[in-house]
Symmetry: C2
Subunit: 340 residues, 2 copies
Amino acid sequence: MPASEFDLIAAINERLPAPGERVRVPSGDDAAVVKGDPASVVSVDAIVDGVHFVLEGFGAEAVGRKALAAGLSDLAAMGADPGEAYVVVGAPAEMPDEQLLEIADGLAGVATRDRVSIAGGDLVSSPVLVVSVTAIGYEPDGASLIGRGGASPGDAVAVTGELGGAAAALSLLGIGEGNQDQIESAVPAELRESLLARQLDPRPRLREGRALAAAGASAMIDVSDGLGADAGHVARASGCRLEVDLDRVPIADGVTAIAGGDGAALELAASGGEDYELLVAIPPERLAEARETTAAAGSALTEIGYVTEGQGVALRLPGGGEIAPRGFDQRRGSRSGSVG
Amino acid sequence: MPASEFDLIAAINERLPAPGERVRVPSGDDAAVVKGDPASVVSVDAIVDGVHFVLEGFGAEAVGRKALAAGLSDLAAMGADPGEAYVVVGAPAEMPDEQLLEIADGLAGVATRDRVSIAGGDLVSSPVLVVSVTAIGYEPDGASLIGRGGASPGDAVAVTGELGGAAAALSLLGIGEGNQDQIESAVPAELRESLLARQLDPRPRLREGRALAAAGASAMIDVSDGLGADAGHVARASGCRLEVDLDRVPIADGVTAIAGGDGAALELAASGGEDYELLVAIPPERLAEARETTAAAGSALTEIGYVTEGQGVALRLPGGGEIAPRGFDQRRGSRSGSVG
């Protein structure tokens, strides 16, 4: 009996026929790459009420926004131009139509902002709300797509923006741990809003992804499962080891106050996930250019570690010691330490 | 408050931004068509335990087979070459991994038979089993894709294969109405098997779809919601009326015995759905050629009616009178008479 999501997925993949010659990069990366003119990049992702979001806390519009943004983030992580999205909504028959229209508003807001066509969909009855998004993007003219598997020893490891905000927002929403009154009073109202937006209205780093691809990134992934878990995906696909100094990881404002200390904030930033920032490996001599073009695209790029020979991930604490890389086990719907 | 699935979908579509110029045919047809070389055809479909199938009665492998076959049937209905499929499985954490591997076996069987690459997927936790398939096909070299909207007055209406089998199989599985012992003894064992296969192992008419497109079909759709409902989709998209003589509709062997009479069999064939045969409108002078090429592709093509000016669908009974076109309301998970 396979033990973890990753073992199970490996067992499933063994049963499937080998992909045909049209498929340039099959399942296992952020998205598949399929030949054509232009080459297309395809990602599928589903979010389920009570597992990936809580409808009551999020509101229906945020569910639509988040479902589409998460799909587009996979395209960003390949350096692709966004194209079309196809959305399946499974909704309980008793859910008010008004909520479904709010989900559509959320999808529409993100589609308009990020210039994506919602070109098709399916609406079905389901005992639980589930939103599945297929996001299709394209290889930009004259540029190359970046997978997870290209990191080599000597590369710098860097991350866009700031981490921990999406996880801290769960605490603000009363979905995480801790005393709700204490958490709310830990940060001023304005900061609460910006943190909540990290969870409820994530911004896929599409322009940053293209800038990093053009600047010579050797591997790229979006931080959806958590920094440690996603660094583990890059390490596994690239056949090398990622060393991350946690004190260099940029933490979003307010996360330390909500987490209740520096150590807890690092834990959130390392394991929280859903920040939808980009994690890259890049030759150190390209880092300065990448920092410049990523800033022009809208985000800071911060060096947080390097790639070495070996395997797995080290998340090093400032005072010595390490945090075990943890990630979200999609199959069990819970955090687990099986990744890395 | 929108009253039906179709009103709701219209309200949702109003909220979404207009598709970009890359989208040749947006949502509303069996699949979207997107420009490129080759042009791509994209369909999304989800099936949910207890709504579109019953895991206990179907078995996990049939769930995988059916989910992929239904997606490919949308490609068949456009006359497309099948390309890749992307599969999201949402499964309860307590579902044995063995059942998930059986779903994979079902997907693998159809992918191998119909020469489709399963190029990506997502496995998530969900309180109910849901399988969502994105099927991507391509416009064949030198051929045109056929939508729902091209029927004109004077066209013949024809259908591939035989109808009613998938609905009769539900009765055999104890999911439909009627006395189970009577139903089982109504048909010999061999016939039971072939009827069950119509529900548990549907065959997308991919070769027939390409043959019909090449033979000059003016509109095409797969019979998934039910003959009456799907004829209604063609009528609405084409701005004309479809007249169907039910006594010309080919009924699968055993359906009459299981339904308990000719009238009930016609009702199953007209409303049952899920046979995944193809319904076409075609100029009458092309019908003989279409019959020949469709037969070469593996299926009989039977003329069952014609297209006139007007709107809606007439499903005419042999003795006079009509059956009201009914279809499956995906939103409510039940049959409704709102379509047509």
